[in-house]
Structure formats: C-alpha cells, structure tokens
Amino acid sequence: MANQKLFVSSHAPYWHNRSSLSAKSYNIMLAALPAVIMGIFQYGPPALGVVALSVSTAMIWELIMNYVTKRQVSIGDGNAAVIGLLLAMLLPATTPWWTVVIGTFLAVVVGKQIYGGIGCNPLNPTLVSIAIIMLSWKGLLDFDEALVNYDLGFYMVYPLAALKHLGTSVVSNYSVGELLMGQYPGAIGSTFGLGLIIGGIYLILRGMIRWEISISFLAGVFLTAFLFNISDSEKYAGPLFHLLTGYTLIGAFFLATEDSSSPVNFIPMLIYGACAGFLTVLIRNIGAFVDGTVFAILMMNVANPLLDKIRPKSLGKGIKHA
C-alpha cells in the first residue's frame, strides 16, 4: 500500500454549480451600491463616514466573535459586510459614531453571532439592530431632526413623519419622480428608489433573492395602502406614496429577503411578504411608529418558522396503495 496513489474520496455529488456565499454577498453589495452612492452624493462625507464605519465595525465584531466562540474566521463570506452596509443604509448621515458601533454590535453579535453565526439567526440582524436603536434613541432616527442642518435644495421634510403629523395634505409636496430619485430627506441608502429597484431587479434576475417575497411585500403595501386610502383618503395616503417612501423599497429587496429569517416555500413566501407589507402600512397609518417596515418585517421573521410549515407534499407522501 505504501506506493499507492492517494486519491480524494468524498460522497456524491462530485459536481457543484460553483455558487458561493461570498459571491452572493458581493452581489448584494453591488446591488445596493447605486442607492449608497446616491446617499453619499447627497449627504457628502458624513454619509461616507457612516457607511465606512458601519461596514468596518460589523466585520470587526464578526472577527471578535469568531475568536471568542473559537470558530473559523468567517468575515471572508462577506455577510458581516452586507449587514454593516444595510445598517448604514438605514441610518441618517448624521448618526454619531458610537451609535454606528453599537448598532453593528447589536446586529452582528446580538442579532447573529450568539445564535451561532450565519444561517442560525431567527430574525434579520440588521433589523434587530435598527429596531433597538429606534427604541433607544428616538431622536436619531427622526430624520427631520437629524438632518436639520442639511439643505439639499428640495423639500426637507421626511415624508412619512410629515404624513403622520400633518396628514395627507403633505403628499402633494412630493412628486413620484422626486421620490424615485431620492429628492427627499431620509436615511443614507433608502431614499433613492430607482437605484433600489434596479438593484432589486438585478438580484432577482441573478437568483440571489427570492422574487416572491419582494413582489408580495410590495403588493401587500400597495393593496393595504390602497384600501386605507379608499376608506378615508383624507386621513390615509395613497399606495404609491407608501411604496416609494420610508424603508419600503429597501425592505422589499434587501431586508425582507434575508435568507435565514424568511420562508423558502412558495405559499409561505407569498404570505410572509404580503403580511409584512400589510403590517407596514398598518403601523404607518394607525400604529405608534412613523415607519412600520422594520417592525413589520421583524414580526413576520418571528412567524417565519410557523409559516414555513406550509409546504408541498413530498414525493409519494400520503399515497395509499392497496
């Protein structure tokens, strides 16, 4: 046996389609890039600072947790970077540095790593973090207050806050074009609707995210807003407004589609997306928060394991042969 050739042996299959997590992560970041660049372009260096800090600290936290839990270093898969980038996209450009650091800690450590790392988190880490920030430091995510020193040449009032406080009269202040082009104040990466849509379509076409979730989420938002609008158009804004403001688009393409906290079967995906959309508008219209996307998706994340029990029959199941 001594002079035998030593082959590799493993179990079938011996082929792989060469997809990889890092490729997926980089594709998501690529898709998010238009919106981020637009944000940096609008809000200048502070926005760049938040993005850079967020991405880097997310990776550092991941690295620290890898060492603490004595596991393989996993920053190479790019998932921490994605979490950091998405978190930055949800924050306003003026976010203080310590909030960003705590935010990435909450996302990477509390949201993901204590559950055992990627794939094990029951909720979207980015959303966990942003939700906790929302509860703790309300002022930070009050975009009107946060961006008070900016004047970018367009109507500097955060649409959803305006809607909540001032009623539907404000809707006319924002044209669809402006909303699509991000001509309103908001978080760094969530205002440039067109960029987000392009990124989302790219991801769907590449098979990186599940179209069912995005589409049903948008449909849920549209329908609910539409129904509210019909019932009392004085009080509740129209569907288009809800679709293009707040975190709706980034939620549909980047947040609700996070893998480990969303369903994989067809019908559950539709329910998940639609319910998240419904809840989003519900919270915006009658709930306590200005934007409901975050909590709506979190709520559906929680329901995900239950939803995903709805699945097609496996081959040969439930068949009785005489």
Partner: protein, 197 residues
Amino acid sequence: MREMLRLFIAVVVFSCLSGGVLAAIQNVTKERIEYQQLKFVKGPTIKNIMEGCSNDPLIDRLSILDEAREMHLFIGEFEGKRNTVAFETFGKGFGGVMGVIVGVNLENDEIIGVGVTTHSETPGVGSKAKTDPDFAAQFKGLSILDPFKVKTDGGQIDALSGATISSRGVCGAVVEAGEIYKRLKPTIIEKMKEKQG
C-alpha cells in the same frame, strides 16, 4: 371517609385561620394605608396644583359616589375661600393607564392646574408629561368645559415631542374630568356646604 374528613378540616382550618390573621393585620394597618395612598399618589400633585392654599387638601376631602364609583375630591382653600376642588381621572397613554389630577376653580370653572400622578410611560419621552412643567402649564386657565385635543388632532395643546400618545392620554383625562365635573358640581357644592355647616 375519616381520612377525607381530616383533609377537609385541615383545609378549612387553614383558610379560616389565615383569613382571621389577615383581617386582624388589615384592621391595624387600614388607616395608615389610606393616608399613604393619598399622600404618595395624589399628594405631591395636589400640592403642586394647589400651591398656596391655606389648608391640607389631603385632610379636607370629600367622598362622592359617581356612577357607582367612589370619587375622592380634595378641597383647596384659597384666600380663605374653599373654592377649589381637585380630583383624579384617567387617560390611556403609551404604556397604559395614566392618572391625571385636575384642579378646578368652582367659581369660574377654570382649570387651576393639571398634574400626572401614576403612569407607565417611556422614561424620558412619555414621562415628560409628568415632569415637564411647560406641558401641564398649557392647561392652566382654560375652561374645564372645553374639549381638549393635541394639535395634530386639531386641538390646542402642544404635544410633547415624540410622545403624542402620552399627550393625547393627558388630554383625554382632562376631557373626562370635565364630564365628571359637570355631573358632580352640584353635589360638590352641596357637600361642601354640609361640611362647613
């Protein structure tokens, strides 16, 4: 059967005894508890509202039945006249029920002060309803019979920033106070007379 009886007696004796013991303790502490309740829950707020009164409103109080509910009304003596009355109503806040004491001048139905007693609002946000004097001061001098609303609801009260719901809760309580006041005003005056007489 004998066994059963033994068990039965044990339970009965135990519950009888504990009932008795508790009754005894309750008897001893009853007075003190009542006073404590007033002193700590409503006392500070009442004092605040009735600043400058010459009596102790906690002692000079009336109990009136309002739709099967017992209401405590605290009488304030200003410039020798017992012309002010304060009582508690409740509104729904962000974290639950909040108690609001409203002081009213019986002569002109004007609010002399509003204060939050119990609440479970978010510290630093909704809790400002209790701590922020500017917020309460908005009510001062308005007529109790007016409807109160925060500005976003089309009313006259500036909501606390970030705590619209808490503000709404206070307004609701004051509105309710107005209704109670309307109902009870005759009885109050009557009772006060009785007391003085």
